[in-house]
Symmetry: C2
Subunit: 146 residues, 2 copies
DNA sequence: CGAAGTAGGACTATATTACTCCTATACAGC
DNA sequence: GCTGTATAGGAGTAATATAGTCCTACTTCG
């Protein structure tokens, strides 16, 4: 199983694309969808998620589109992941304390809490700026070609 | 999303149970299922997975059952995860190189490969012996009670 | 032989993820 | 103010993955 979903990959590609236009024009969903090989309708949904998370600014109406809300070096991989697929957690009890009635006494939970923290910190440490430069459309979970 | 599945939790509980009987009698699936609150049929499936992975030894026939194939301190959480839910991977391209045509030049892949490795090492470093002692049936992803 | 066990294929049900459709709303340019 | 091109977002469908069941072997002890 893969932890990062296709969703996240699309979002990441879109964000990298926007990073390339940072400080310049807004980019329309239609353009993002064409350049990054995402269906227009689905791309629109993903942009909504990114917008709801405050990662992008939107300009409505004709000649509208999206732009990064913050400079690339201030947008982390974790931000993007959280925006499109929710928090990544090793197990449910980190997301929802009610998921496990023995949470408080659980030895396993204690054992892996450290790892959980490390993962989040790592993802938070990787920013858009780091892969925005030379690769405009690298991606993680591209749909497999047939 | 949770990385560890319910499947894995069941398996973990079963393994902890078996660890409690290490060196003694085999434990029948019927008993495991009752003690760890897993449906008998499903428990049987999970035991098959653990057996196929070589983590448990099976004794067929009447008075048969399962026992750990190795001492608890030599069975890691990663072993169990791999047996029941397959390898944990940050993204598809670590599992299947064909999943992404740009794998070789992908900056993102390079960035998170280190994290991927760290996660595996951490999980491999946690063994059954560490939580087998005082908690016979702790679990991670118990189905939520209503 | 029969009871109690594992082995395993095939199937069903449920949940999650991916994706589409349709309508509303905003804004620029004519 | 109309029209074309945008985003906003609810609602629904399709595909896939996970969880769980059913049934029929085969194995061994008593």
């Amino acid at each position: 199983m893969s932890i990062l979903r296709r969703n996240t990959d699309y979002a990441l590609r879109a964000m990298v694309n926007l990073a390339g236009h940072y400080g310049g024009d807004v980019v329309a969903t239609r353009q993002l969808s064409a350049e990054e090989d995402i269906s227009y309708q689905y791309a629109a949904k993903i942009m909504q998620l990114l917008h709801a998370a405050g990662l992008v600014k939107s300009t409505m109406g004709s000649h509208g589109g999206f732009s990064l809300a913050r400079p690339p070096q201030e947008v982390s991989l974790l931000d993007i992941i959280k925006a499109v697929q929710g928090a990544v957690s090793l197990n449910d009890c980190f997301l929802d304390a009610d998921a496990c009635p023995r949470r408080s006494t659980c030895v396993i939970s204690a054992k892996i809490a450290g790892l959980q923290e490390y993962i989040e910190k790592s993802l938070a440490g990787i920013t858009l700026a780091e892969f925005a430069t030379d690769s405009m459309s690298e991606h993680v979970n591209a749909p497999k070609e047939k």
